[in-house]
Symmetry: C2
Subunit: 161 residues, 2 copies
């Protein structure tokens, strides 16, 4: 079954239920493949993150979870987030101390985000070899061996202009 073709996440009107469903299905498949356990807590956190394309903070997740289960403590959420990050299911947005669902979790990859100051949505670039290549070129010019990268662009998204 081929993945759903869907407009970029900045397109404000889209069938977001499909985003969520696809993300959960992809997560199940990833975890099955990796032999990691997609427990109900982890699933619930991932679902909450996918409620929108806006990065959410750990503490807003804690608040949400407390509506369902009173004494949800920080480690619960941070552990789930750690798991989801390790399995490429969510990305951390460093400039916001927040987390957003990964839109193509199939394999580990460097990520680049465009984050709208108006609607707060974050869009992950797909297949942006251009930026990656530019970074790799600069690094090798300097003799720097890359292990990870953070690229977060803020501004106004097309739908908000």
């Amino acid at each position: 079954m081929s993945p759903t073709v869907r407009p970029p996440s900045f397109t404000h009107k889209h069938n977001h239920a499909a985003c969520i469903a696809d993300a959960i299905k992809a997560a199940e498949q990833c975890c099955a493949q990796n032999g990691t356990r997609f427990t109900s807590q982890r699933r619930r956190v991932l679902e909450l993150i996918w409620q929108s394309h806006k990065p959410v903070t750990a503490y807003s997740l804690i608040k949400s979870l407390r509506k369902e289960k009173e004494n949800t403590e920080p480690p619960t959420v941070y552990r789930a987030l750690e798991f989801l990050q390790e399995n490429n299911l969510v990305h951390r947005i460093e400039s916001l101390n927040a987390f957003v669902g990964c839109e193509h979790p199939e394999k580990e990859h460097r990520s680049q985000f465009m984050i709208c100051n108006q609607c707060d949505q974050a869009m992950e670039l797909r297949n942006s070899r251009r930026i990656e290549n530019a970074i790799s070129t600069e690094a090798s010019k300097l003799g720097f061996a890359i292990s990870s990268s953070t690229v977060e662009i803020t501004g106004i998204c097309p739908s908000c202009q």
Copy 2:
């Protein structure tokens, strides 16, 4: 007087006293030009930041300042940092919640950093139009209007390899 020519900051052996001196002199000139006040507190914080090329956290600055003046409270440091950032004298490293001296504060600019996992030093790229262009190109392809960008690459610097 032309600026000192100096090897890139990742070169572990360099005359770091000159880095500090140049940074302070540049700060004086910037502030004079902008009509902003380079008070002794701000100068002291900038000097502390420039003790090395390693990004420092706000709290490590507070600790340092407390050795000189017992009751230094967080707002003291955060205000100085705010001023220094506004005047392009320091950059914030989002992925570390830490601050590092700007190596070319003459005018506002987008910054890109390479951060070594071994020696913890951060090097700011100079004139890296390549990365900026790649980002601009991607953004305009998507119709995204950039207002700021965060580019932080981690890995191993040449001196540490």
